[in-house]
């Protein structure tokens, strides 16, 4: 039971960064007073009609193109009919059989290497409003705020090709990065501009090489990427236990003659005692208890009665429009990462960190390299020191107190003077207050001791004072040389040129 496979598919909704709603001129701003950003159109008052927001369609096209989707040359909108008080027309304008995009992929970085996660489709639809339910559910009235009604949403449906909860989190992070980079969505899960439902089931191997599949559970109410990961972990485990229990108790049965192919193996769906497939179900994730709560199993699928939206006309997309969108996209994170690796000779891992910080950060890094000419050092300083500074101070790279030229000059200074890392960090910290590298070094009174004769004198004293370290070194413990170097550094208050000291220590030890 422990070697089961996890099958995860994610359904992500992101709000598009338009000024106005999908079909009317009301604001999409988050957090406005209730029912202050509505009009007859988004309230669905009788006689009103929708007109498509050009920018919303454009942003949707950008996203789908960036997700390597096929873009349909002809697309239309459909009505999805269901009754809910946050949906004033009681139908949602969405896309059914002819979505504007399909069959794409998103490349994510895993410890095992890169992986392309397939995307089934991405389509454009309108958001619903918000309901406020009383704490004592079912006891008192619910309240409806229609501000969010009609906000443009892009629904992105992944293939059930995500294999672990960690992978699901990586997929979401990569998706967020991409959509933010191209200006499609701010993807703030806390504000609901990115929402995720996760479909999960497990395939448990049997002795004969086939797998038993548990019924798919759709997890809702996921409020953070970590929550997604935790919920999926919990749910995979829960399904494994439920399967074991239900099979033991005879509540679920397996009919080997009903195996179906999945990827490159055969899967058998569990059946009820009556012989029908155990129905899919929806579960809510409770962040507090760390559990999924299974809601009622759906005995029959909802009947949404989709049909073409007669109040909107179709949209045609030609090659010229797609070319324009591609040009606007610029360099996407995956391509950028590959370029950073090859152009600067930095490791894939580092290139990944750089590219995940976004375009502005990468531009900063490249400007540092331009000034100092050392990509490796530039990379170390930006992804270690600069990134932690930004995180600590909660700053955006665009308002970074240290210019890339400044950081580049610091690197040049370190290389020319041999300033050690600890001292260099002090200089760096002073530079955050607006000093140049030279000013900071002067102010801190750092004067690197580079005089060879003076340093040789110190090295010899150190050797004399540390006979044990010398003996260890001679026995082959090369690390023992650090004690000698440390002595010299202490004597110079850390201002010795580390490269020179290194060379002299080695020469002296090997000589004696």
């Amino acid at each position: 039971m422990t070697t089961h496979r996890i099958i995860i598919g994610l359904e992500v909704h992101v709000q598009l960064l338009t000024k106005t709603k999908l079909f009317c001129g009301c604001s999409t701003q988050f957090g406005l007073p209730p029912n202050s950003a509505t009009c007859p159109i988004c309230c669905g008052l009788p006689g009103t009609l929708p007109v498509m927001n050009r920018e919303a369609f454009h942003l949707a096209l950008k996203a789908a193109t960036a997700l390597n989707c096929k873009i349909a040359s002809f697309t239309k909108w459909d009505r999805k009919n269901y009754y809910y008080p946050d949906l004033p027309k009681n139908y949602q304008i969405s896309q059914y059989d002819l979505p504007f995009s399909s069959e794409g992929w998103l490349e994510i970085e895993l410890p095992s290497g890169p992986k392309k996660v397939g995307i089934i489709r991405a389509h454009l639809e309108e958001d619903a409003g918000k309901m406020l339910h009383d704490e004592h559910a079912g006891k008192s009235d619910s309240l409806v705020d229609l501000n969010r009604t009609g906000t443009p949403l892009l629904e992105i449906v992944s293939k059930p090709a995500i294999d672990t909860p960690e992978e699901a989190k990586a997929y979401l992070e990569e998706l967020r990065l991409l959509l933010r980079e191209i200006g499609v969505s701010d993807c703030e899960m806390q504000e609901g501009s990115l929402r995720c439902d996760a479909n999960i089931n497990i395939h448990v191997p049997q002795a004969d090489g086939t797998f038993i599949a548990t019924p798919i559970i759709e997890i809702k109410n996921l409020n953070s990427f970590r929550g997604v990961e935790r919920a999926l972990k919990y749910e995979a485990e829960r399904q494994a236990n439920e399967l074991r229990r239900s099979l033991d108790a005879g509540a679920w049965v397996v009919d080997s003659s009903r195996a179906k192919a999945f990827r490159d193996y055969a899967v058998i769906q569990v059946l009820t005692q009556r012989g029908s497939e155990v129905a899919k179900a929806t579960a809510g994730w409770d962040e507090r208890t760390g559990r999924t709560e299974i809601q009622r199993r759906k005995e029959e699928a909802s009947d949404y009665r989709y049909f073409p939206e007669p109040d909107l006309v179709p949209v045609k997309v030609d090659a010229a429009i797609l070319d324009k969108v591609r040009t606007e996209l610029g360099e996407l994170p995956a391509a950028q990462k590959a370029r950073l690796q090859s152009q600067y000779g930095i490791p894939a891992y580092d290139a990944g960190i750089l590219s995940r910080q976004g375009r502005a950060f990468v531009a900063y890094f490249e400007a540092v390299v331009k000034t100092c000419g050392d990509a490796k050092e530039a990379c170390n300083w930006t992804i270690n020191d600069l990134l932690s500074t930004l995180n600590e101070r909660q700053l955006d790279i665009n308002v970074c107190p240290l210019s890339p030229q400044g950081l580049g000059e610091l690197i040049v200074e370190i290389k020319s003077t041999g300033l050690n890392k600890q001292r260099a960090r002090e200089v760096y910290t002073a530079m955050l207050d607006g000093l140049t590298a030279k000013q900071a070094i002067d102010k801190l009174g750092f004067k690197v001791v580079g005089d060879e004769a003076q340093l040789l004198e110190l090295v010899r004293r150190a050797i004399a004072a540390n006979p044990k370290a010398v003996a260890d070194f001679k026995k082959g413990k090369l690390k023992a040389a650090d004690a000698i170097k440390g002595f010299v550094m202490r004597e110079t208050k850390g201002m010795a040129n580390t490269e020179v000291v290194q060379r002299l220590v080695m020469e002296e030890l090997n000589r004696g």
């Binding site: 009754y83 027309k89 009947d303 007669p310 109040d311």
Partner: protein, 490 residues
């Protein structure tokens, strides 16, 4: 006051009449006949007089006058006027006050027309007799025992009885042309996309069009000119120039070819679909002779799929309606039941109480046609036959200018005659429905009276966006006859 809009405009420009005097006169007429007819759901007496005075003041100042300055008009109650109740003939919207004007209302206000009141109609424009109004039954001015047709029966009766010289209606399957025919006036359904639907309470969105009622073709042209044209708030409103219909209407069409579909007439041994009345058929054939005498060529054509149009219509229109009317659930606007247990029950009871029988039937039919397991056999099948119907018209218009036939199989029927048999009621729209499915334009003009003195309508259908030609051809007939000058004695 039996004058046409054109005559009222003329009398005002010569100073014979003021807008106020005109309005007062029509208001007096409404007072006089309304107890018998019940054409109006609301008469805005104070508002109309105020508008009229403002228009007179404007004229005195020497300002440029709108093209319908001082002409009263009745508005079907499915069309929204800001700040005035819009009930759509339904209990559901008894208290609904739209905070906006329909596009056609904005145009009418810009044209200085006087909005005199909201006219009765079948609930949500669903019906062919105006008997489905939740409020009142409108009578046919030619025979008070009979219906004025529907669904725009209030608008048609108001014009026929000279309660207003003009009216707006809406036509989803014949709801302008059929009541115009049964009330002896002119009614025009524009091509789909010609007139903005913004502010028109939707029934069947891919079929609905707003159009004019008037005593004659010239007035129809005038009103169409005001309401037609592009509106950026309706995605299906087409951006193409609006001809000066009223100006060109007097010039006859040369080398006119009239198509007469054999399916619209009784054939030896076979009655036409819907059962065409012999008197109606005779009047239509007489009208064709008038055209022949004007040099027109009469050509028999075929619209082979037209017998299926009622079936297609009652799937497409009801499917769209089932979705369009879903918003009336007692949550954000409209009727909410007083007693209920929980949300779903509130919705069901509000809708159960707020909708009348015919609306419920159509919602049920449309929901059924779209529901899982039935959508292919019903809704999608209907869309396919809809294409065949459209193709029939495309082929026909390749060989004729317009298609002429009866507007309705019979003259006005008696109140209550068809209420027990929905299907029989539906079949009274057999000749008008296919124009909506195909998106073409059509007009009904008076072409005779039955022996018992009931009006008979002649329907002329034109290719999409050929309203100009349609009006000119209608006017050719009108000039030769005086049916349009007959008025009922109410």
């Amino acid at each position: 006051m039996n004058l046409t809009a054109a005559e009222l405009l003329e009398r005002q420009s010569t100073g014979d009449l003021s807008a106020e005097a005109i309005t007062q006169s029509f208001l007096a007429r409404i007072q006089q006949v309304e107890p018998k007819l019940r054409s109006f759901l609301a008469v805005d007496e104070a508002g109309a007089l105020e508008q009229a005075r403002a228009i007179d003041a404007k004229r005195r100042r020497g300002d440029a006058m709108g093209i319908l300055a001082g002409v009263p008009i009745a508005i079907k109650d499915v069309i929204c006027v800001q700040g005035q109740r819009a009930t759509a003939g339904s209990k559901m919207l008894e208290a609904f006050v739209p905070p906006y004007d329909a596009h056609v209302i904005t145009r009418l206000k810009e044209a200085d027309a006087i909005l005199i009141g909201k006219s009765n109609c079948d609930e949500f424009a669903m019906g062919s007799s105006t008997e489905n109004s939740a409020y009142q039954t409108t009578r046919n001015p030619w025979d008070l025992e009979r219906t004025p047709g529907g669904s725009s029966g209030g608008s048609a009766a108001a014009v026929a009885a000279s309660e207003a010289p003009l009216a707006l209606g809406t036509d989803t399957g014949g709801s302008i042309r059929q009541p115009a025919g049964l009330c002896g006036i002119v009614g025009l359904k524009p091509s789909y996309g010609r007139v903005s639907r913004f502010g028109l309470i939707a029934y069947g969105s891919s079929l609905d069009q707003c159009g004019p009622f008037a005593h004659d073709v010239r007035d129809s042209a005038l009103l169409l000119e005001v309401i037609a044209g592009h509106d950026s708030r309706d995605s299906t409103s087409v951006d193409r120039p609006v001809p000066q219909y009223a100006k060109v209407v007097e010039s006859p069409v040369q080398a006119l070819v009239i198509g007469v579909p054999r399916e619209f007439f009784n054939q030896p041994g076979a009655q036409a679909t819907g059962g065409l009345d012999a008197e109606v058929e005779r009047s239509v054939r007489d009208a064709l002779k008038v055209y022949e005498s004007l040099g027109a060529t009469i050509k028999e054509i075929s619209l082979p799929h037209s017998p299926y149009s009622v079936a297609v219509y009652y799937l497409v229109a009801t499917a769209e309606a089932s979705s369009n009317l879903a918003r009336y659930d007692g949550v954000h606007f409209g009727h909410r039941a007083k007693e209920f247990a929980g949300l779903i029950d509130m919705m069901k009871k509000s809708r159960g109480e707020g909708f009348g029988a015919e609306v419920k039937r159509r919602i049920m039919l449309g929901t059924y046609a779209l529901s899982s397991g039935y959508i292919d056999a019903y809704y999608l099948k209907a869309l396919k036959v809809r294409r065949l119907i459209r193709q029939d018209f495309d082929r026909a218009f390749a060989e004729c200018d317009v298609i002429v036939g009866p507007t309705s199989p019979t003259a006005a029927f008696k109140i209550g005659e068809k209420t027990g048999d929905p299907l029989a009621m539906y079949l009274s729209d057999i000749y008008t429905i296919s124009a909506n499915l195909a998106g073409i334009c059509g007009i009904s003009i008076p072409c005779g009276l039955t022996k018992t003195g009931l009006p008979i309508g002649l329907q002329i259908l034109g290719a999409p966006f050929t309203e100009e030609k349609l009006l000119r051809i209608a006017r050719m007939y009108e000039r030769e006859t005086d049916w349009h000058k007959r008025r009922p004695a109410v």
